[in-house]
């Protein structure tokens, strides 16, 4: 397979080509990078929705339901579902398909499971590139489901236009609700499993939290859902789509898109500099020498880092 063949395959909406392109990107192959660089120009500006929240709150079931709702409205959907890789073996169990029951054979849906492969932040390292590929394929919506997150894995806000933070009753008190981090990135807050005891309290605490802050333009709504029965999904989707409209009308969408390009650019610059320096330093023994100095107390990290940059760039920038 070469670049042209893959791009033509994606253009012709052949899912085998999209699937293979994603693998190439995930494996960091030069061919994959070339495909993404070219696909970037044929993006069609899909709406990107992020779904995040703690493990077990019902993200996958909710995504399954949302896909159905988006399809009923005639939109096609690309789904990216991320699960964690083992820090020891690099292996992973990607289980999001287990909950994705209803639309497996729907021609308007493409579902891909990704492993984090050591990337922190709630997404896989190449999520941004996979979004570009799915966008070039022509999906109207791209739904990104993060790993089950704790309090500070907020990468999804870099790439999704609208973020739904999913909570379930009974996972914390009102102090949890005013902490910084995950709750702050929600454009829509969703209390799932709303049939469980404590849902009312969770909703009130969230509303109290939101009441402590002045919002300009958009105040995140709190929506109750029961993903397993589909209850509340229409209202959830309605809120998300209202947020999308708001982004367009307020001009914030442009700002968000710019910010996400910025984040990707930073990653690429790191890859072209940091990663290459470390690779070279490792292969020619420089890294080993510097580390030995550090262990023996003969050097310090500050000077070591400067020496590395100077050695491979010829100058400290």
């Amino acid at each position: 397979m070469d670049v042209e063949e893959i791009l033509e395959g994606i253009e012709a909406k052949k899912r085998t080509y999209l699937a293979r392109a994603i693998s190439l990107v995930e494996d960091g192959s030069p061919l994959g990078r070339e495909v993404v660089a070219r696909a970037f120009k044929s993006k069609k500006n899909a709406k990107v929705l992020g779904i995040t929240g703690a493990p077990g709150v019902g993200k996958s079931t909710l995504v399954d339901g949302l896909i159905g709702k988006l399809r009923e409205r005639g939109g096609s959907v690309g789904v990216i579902a991320v699960d964690p890789s083992s820090p020891f073996t690099g292996g992973a169990i990607l289980g999001d398909r287990v909950r994705m029951r209803s639309r497996t054979l729907d021609e308007g849906v493409f579902f891909r499971s990704l492993a984090t492969r050591g990337h922190l932040g709630g997404l896989s390292r190449h999520t941004a590139e996979v979004i570009v590929l799915m966008d070039a394929f022509g999906f109207d919506y791209i739904v990104v489901e993060t790993v089950g997150v704790g309090q500070s894995e907020v990468d999804v806000m870099k790439y999704a236009h609208s973020v739904v933070v999913v909570l379930a009753p009974g996972l914390g008190d009102d102090i949890q609700a005013i902490k910084a981090g995950i709750l702050e990135i929600g454009d829509v807050l969703c209390v799932n499993k709303a049939d469980l005891p404590g849902a009312e309290r969770t909703r009130k605490e969230l509303e109290m939290m939101l009441g402590l802050k002045e919002f300009e333009g958009w105040k995140p709504p709190v929506v109750e859902t029961i993903a397993s029965s589909g209850e509340g999904l229409d209202r959830l989707l309605e809120s998300v789509l209202q947020h999308q409209d708001y982004l367009v009308a307020s001009g914030l969408l442009e700002k968000k898109v710019r910010e996400s390009h910025h984040a990707v650019l930073v990653e690429y610059v790191k890859r072209e500099t940091l990663d290459k320096i470390m690779e070279k330093a490792e292969s020619d023994g420089t890294l080993d020498r510097i580390l030995r100095d550090l262990v023996e107390g003969a050097g310090d990290p500050e000077s070591g880092a400067r020496a590395l940059v100077e050695k491979y760039f010829g100058t400290t920038i």
Partner: protein, 137 residues
């Protein structure tokens, strides 16, 4: 740099027993592979679609219902259809309760290997590593 091997562990048909599938999934994970688990009660069409979208190197089918002679060749046929090719680049394995006299039939119909009860997970992982149909380097 070698790439990460991806495996679909699939449960075709009306068979509610997935302890074996989970053990295999775990063994592949511990061997450094990425395992997509299909969940229970999947049709051959669904499993083929998953294998394509997830771009897996291996489809490992677990079946204890006795319907293997019907369902497993169907998975192979569906996968050929999805991929638009008779030459599959995916290793297709089966495990579970499959009588020895059925193995030859399954192999004639596109199943690359069949593992019965008592097979060690090491053996299955080792077989998988050495029989991949796509380059991993």
């Amino acid at each position: 740099m070698s790439r990460t091997i991806r495996v679909l562990v699939g449960k075709p048909g009306l068979d509610g027993h997935d302890r074996g599938a989970k053990v295999i999934a775990r063994a592949y994970r511990d061997a450094g592979m990425e395992v997509i688990y299909s969940g229970l009660h999947r049709t051959p069409e669904e499993l083929a679609r998953m294998a394509v979208e997830e771009d897996v190197d291996v489809v490992a089918l677990s079946i204890l219902s006795g319907a293997h002679a019907t369902l497993l060749p169907k998975v192979v046929d569906c996968l050929k259809k999805e991929k638009g090719s008779d030459q599959l680049d995916v290793l297709i394995l089966a495990g579970g309760i499959i009588p020895a006299e059925d193995v030859a039939f399954l192999k004639e119909h596109g199943i690359d290997e069949v593992f019965g009860p008592g097979t060690s997970t090491e053996e299955i992982v080792q077989y998988t590593r050495t029989h991949l149909k796509r380059e991993i380097a």
